[in-house]
């Protein structure tokens, strides 16, 4: 029997790579949604409340818009985390601000669901 070699990564658990990838995926979703939304408004600008409401009553518009809004919330978390990591140096302050951002963005995500699926 040879010696037992324990391979241990010294650079964390690669949380950063996952965040990096999710930041990009949400970015692509938002970038495409933006172009589609602008194209939709350019073709037929909803003139009043009825037209505006009818636009967001369609099933796939709801799904795609909610996907966009949830992407915004997740993407904002990754970005705000990066910013706080660089500028909020004291650990206690940084953790407190993380909690604040997470609570706010979770609330916005639930709010977005409520907006898109209100009776």
């Amino acid at each position: 029997m040879g010696a037992i070699v324990v391979m241990r990564s010294l650079v964390g658990a690669h949380y950063g790579t996952g965040q990096w990838l999710r930041q990009r995926i949400t970015a692509v979703i938002m970038a495409i949604y933006t172009v589609l939304a602008i194209a939709t408004f350019a073709i037929a600008r909803p003139a009043d409340h009825a037209a505006w409401k009818a636009l967001f009553a369609s099933g796939w518009v709801r799904v795609v818009t909610l996907l966009f809004l949830l992407s915004v919330c997740y993407h904002a978390w990754v970005g705000m985390r990066d910013i706080l990591m660089d500028y909020a140096k004291p650990t206690g302050l940084r953790l407190a601000l993380y909690v604040l951002v997470i609570v706010a963005l979770s609330g916005y995500a639930i709010w977005a669901v409520q907006i898109m699926w209100r009776g």
Binding site: A27, M80, A104, W111, Q114
Partner: protein, 131 residues
């Protein structure tokens, strides 16, 4: 190092690290951060407006009235710039991730282009939304 002696005479060295002494890609990068933070801070207001616009005829009209206020229009114009810049600089980032345009001259050129495109988009969509 032949000019080490020359450099020594210039001490102490004062480094000006203000925003406007950053190279162009650095300016685009810090503006990407600032625009992202601004959009994050504006998120509750934007959700509030979107919520109201869909909730009822009366609240839709209230949103329209709120957005007709000159101060609100100024804020909207600022947010249009923030979104336009974040979108354009983000697209540049994705291209850099794919190793497109990573040499210094291309990176500088695309940074300049990013600033120009985001200002052009701001003027166009600002005009389309507000007037």
């Amino acid at each position: 190092m032949p000019d080490a002696a020359v450099k020594k005479k210039r001490r102490p060295l004062w480094l000006n690290v203000s925003l406007f002494n950053l190279p162009i890609p650095g300016i685009v990068s810090i503006l990407h951060r600032i625009s992202g933070a601004v959009l994050f801070l504006a998120l509750p207001w934007l959700l509030f407006l979107f919520d109201g616009s869909l909730a009822s005829e009366a609240r839709y009209e209230a949103v329209r009235r709120q957005l007709a206020h000159p101060f609100a229009q100024l804020v909207v114009l600022g947010l249009v710039w923030a979104y336009a810049h974040h979108w354009t600089a983000g697209l540049r980032h994705l291209l850099l991730d794919l190793h497109i345009g990573i040499d210094l001259p291309s990176a500088r050129a695309s940074a300049r282009l990013t600033l120009a495109i985001s200002i052009a988009l701001t003027l166009f969509f600002g005009w389309a939304l507000l007037w």
